[in-house]
């Protein structure tokens, strides 16, 4: 299988693990980002993912190469799903392997964070009340604004968004 790609079918976690398996690799890590049922206090029914596909594929390849260079030659396999997903669906699957656990875990964290920071993929949340909104992770949410105002002078907090599995 190609090891880095955008798909319009369920994430195949077992195949991701197979893709990074090496006889000399004693540590395989797997991350799944899963659509959850709420974000910032709103009930979420699903998330629609869209991408600037050719650039997204390039960025994913660059991130995988960087991870390999930074973390002792880790192997990386990744799938990001596009289209409309419902609660419980995996939106992204990432497998990273190495001879030892520390580079595998560090490499996995690196790939997840870089994916979220720079790969041109966007999501639109579908709320239970029938409305839909494109998510801007850099925007201060109303809830965050209220919290910031209450905390007088505290910096705006960043917030996790659904699909990141956190």
């Amino acid at each position: 299988m190609r090891t880095l790609h955008l798909v319009r079918r369920p994430i195949a976690a077992d195949r991701l693990l197979e893709a990074v398996a090496r006889d000399g690799h004693g540590a395989s890590t797997l991350f799944l980002g899963v659509v959850r049922d709420h974000n910032d206090g709103r009930a979420v029914q699903g998330i629609e993912y869209a991408a600037y596909e050719p650039m997204a594929e390039r960025e994913l390849a660059a991130i995988a190469a960087e991870a390999g260079a930074r973390f002792g030659g880790v192997q990386v396999a990744l799938e990001h799903r596009l289209g409309v997903l419902v609660v419980g669906d995996a939106s992204v699957g990432i497998a990273v392997s190495h001879a030892h656990r520390a580079p595998a875990l560090d490499g996995l964290r690196y790939v997840v964070e870089e994916l979220k920071r720079r790969v041109p993929i966007w999501k639109r949340e579908h709320y239970a009340d029938g409305t839909r909104e494109w998510v801007d992770p850099t925007a201060t949410t109303p809830a965050a604004t209220a919290a910031t105002m209450a905390a007088a002078g505290a910096p705006a907090r960043s917030h996790a968004s659904p699909g990141d599995g956190s």
Partner: protein
Amino acid sequence: MSPDLAPELAPRMVRLDLLLFAAHAERLGRTELPVELPAGATVLDLRHWLRDAGHEALLAGQLRVAVNQAMADDGCVLRSGDEVALIPPVAGG
């Protein structure tokens, strides 16, 4: 520029079809936006063009610009035929 250069060889303007995605595409109801800029224009000039053309909303947040599928800084010079895309804040994962 030589005055006897044929007009079709004198690249006075840069013509682009800006690629739009996600919230931008929805806001404008289209996925491409034709743009004409003076020769030598940069990404920063493109940002100014967007503001002056009434598209301030696209500049909101942390707008990045990709040129030929790589993130470009404001000093990047644009050329006709470049693949230029507006990248609103990304939210993969």
